[in-house]
């Protein structure tokens, strides 16, 4: 029986390809109308998880239900209830916009009398009204992406899976695309989306951080940012960066230090106390300090903090 509250439930899901563990015991659940983000670097196992949820790959072990249906046992019932946009743009480039839409209307068995209305809606939603007769291969990336989304939701599925939907799309189109996603979530659609853009992850209601097949954290973006950084986060502008970060990593008042762009992010117990200590510590070691200030952690900080002990087990832990 489909569960009204949780539209996607994953329990201890594992996928192995030979010796390689692509997805390593992931458990989570996504609620109806939620925008659930999968954040992680390329190759972390995000696409593999999504493909298992769409019934395209068989899980090695564990269990997952989508709209109440088991993905391994009832993949066809799952497919009735989902829309899927794969990582690679996968509409037919040699067909017209309208031909692609008609194809998917047919594939999803949209009733004959509703086809025109649904296609009109999809065209409007993807801002492609009037472009029906263009060959898809000639469209710019952002348009293709919106069309792909339009095709995937023609049948009004309660759950949609979007695998890196905005990769290779310009920032403005990306923004438009996310407006669409929010609109759909507002209508009660559960949206499962993978991304490796940190700023995109901020748009999600909840996030799972995926790293090397494992889920390292789960929560709202603000929860993740708060909980992952234990203490205060300081931005340090100084030169040279290399020796500075090395010496700070062993400094007594510093819990963690990492290079962020052209500055350092360091974690301390308490900002007020630590700022003069850090300045002194660095000046003693011949590092010129331009600026030190207290900042709010970003998702990237959270991600670095959460994955640092897996990435390099020797580095200092933040908690």
């Amino acid at each position: 029986m489909p569960d009204v509250q949780s539209s996607v439930v994953i329990e201890e899901l594992v996928k192995r390809f030979g010796d390689f563990v692509a997805v390593d015991h992931i458990s989570l659940d996504a609620r109806k109308g939620e925008i659930f983000g999968f954040l992680g670097p390329n190759g972390a196992g995000k696409s593999t998880t999504i493909r298992m949820l769409c019934g395209l790959l068989t899980p090695t072990s564990g269990r997952a239900t989508v709209a109440g249906y088991d993905v391994a046992k009832e993949p066809e019932s799952v497919r009735q209830n989902i829309g899927y946009m794969s990582q690679k743009f996968s509409l037919y480039n040699d067909l017209k916009v309208i031909e692609n839409l008609r194809l998917f209307a047919g594939l999803y068995s949209v009733p004959r009398d509703a086809v025109k209305k649904r296609i009109g809606w999809a065209l409007e939603m993807s801002d492609l009204t009037g472009q029906e007769d263009l060959i898809v291969g000639t469209l710019p990336g952002g348009w293709k992406q919106r069309l792909a989304l339009g095709c995937a939701v023609l049948h009004k599925p309660p759950i949609i899976f979007l695998d890196e939907p905005t990769s290779g799309v310009d920032p403005l189109s990306r923004r438009q695309f996310w407006d669409l996603i929010h609109q759909m979530a507002g209508d009660g659609v559960t949206v499962f989306v993978t991304t490796h853009y940190m700023e995109e992850a901020e748009y999600c209601n909840r996030l799972a951080l995926i790293f090397r097949g494992k889920m390292v954290a789960l929560g709202t973006p603000s929860e993740l940012k708060r909980s992952s950084v234990k203490g205060d986060l300081l931005l340090v502008e100084c030169a040279p960066l290399g020796p500075a970060v090395e010496s700070l990593q062993t400094a007594p008042m510093v819990l963690d230090a990492a290079v962020f762009g052209n500055a350092l992010h360091i974690v301390v117990e308490q900002a007020q106390e630590a700022i003069p200590q850090v300045r002194q510590y660095m000046t003693d070691r011949g590092v010129a300090v331009q600026r030190i200030e207290l900042i709010q952690p970003t998702l990237e900080d959270a991600f670095v903090a959460l994955t640092s002990d897996i990435a390099s087990p020797s580095s200092k832990k933040t908690s």
Binding site: C54, L56, L57, E76, R79, F89, D94, G106, L107, R112
Partner: protein
Amino acid sequence: MSFIRFYAIAKKEIVQVLRDTRSLIIVLIMPVILVLLFGYGVSLDLKHLPVYVYDQDGTQQSQDLLKHFQASEYFDVVRVVDNYRELTLALDSGEAKMGLVIPWDFARRLANGRPAEIQALMDGTDDNTANVLIGYTQAVVERYSLQVQLRWLQGQGQTVQPSQISVENRTWYNEELESSAFIVPGVLALVMSVIGAFLTSLTIAREWERGTMEQLISTPATPLEIMLGKLVPYFVIGILDVIVCALFAVYWFKVPLRGSSLTLLLSSAMFLVVVLAMGFFISVIAKNQLAASQLALLTTFLPAFLLSGFLYAIEQMPKALQLFTYILPARYYVSILKKIFLKGSPTALLYVDLVPLTIIAVVLGVLATNSFRKRLP
């Protein structure tokens, strides 16, 4: 099985074929080119073979013999030379298929009632032609030899009533022994192989390569709907090509169509099912275009070309190869084609070929349907 989903896929496939130049060429132009190529280009007729003659004797008798060769439609005495070197050169260069040498004592030996010999040098690079030449040469020489004997006996004052046995030839089915009549019907098997196996496996592999197949299998469309949606358009195209090729054979190459056109269409449909199933099966194994096209050519086109009896008689193949041809669908189809076009065999006599063809079609069809999984590799 949902008709809406099947129809959506089939319609998309047709639009894609019509929009893709490469597919259009294979669908529209290739069949006509194959028919023309084999109708004109491949001639197994051996007539007017060029012969060089080195007549050392140069007598009335030797000229007489040469006239017999000249009179035969199988030989053309293109040149008379006076040394071995030129003869050898002509054979080397391929200007002559045979060199005839009449020895200097030819007439004298005959006059004395002694056996005479002539030498025939064959170009053996084409063993078939050489064999045929030997046969024709012997026939000409034997006939001449008989005349010489009769004349000699008459010269001895004996009245001889020559009693000869002659063979009255009547070639059935292909009265003129035109090789185009023998070959052109079989071209249908080649065309079907290309459309059915090559083109379809290519288009399915292309969907895997481009990622559209991933999108397709994420929808509720069933494997059967996807398979039929992909294959039915090519089935229709195949049938249209059968009609085009048959019309070409009959009206252009004057190949008789003596059997029933309906049986021709039905058996072509059966063979199409076979090659389409193979094409689909191949695309399940090989998910990229290069591998799929090579597998398709290797498993359908080449056997249809070499082992089906299309060009080379199966009875003349090594025993092991002959046995192997029994599992080749093209063997049965080519046999049916020749029977329908040339013999006009009633459908009842086609069962020996139709039954195995149907069995293969059913087996492959079931295999293909069950091999497709809506899973990523």
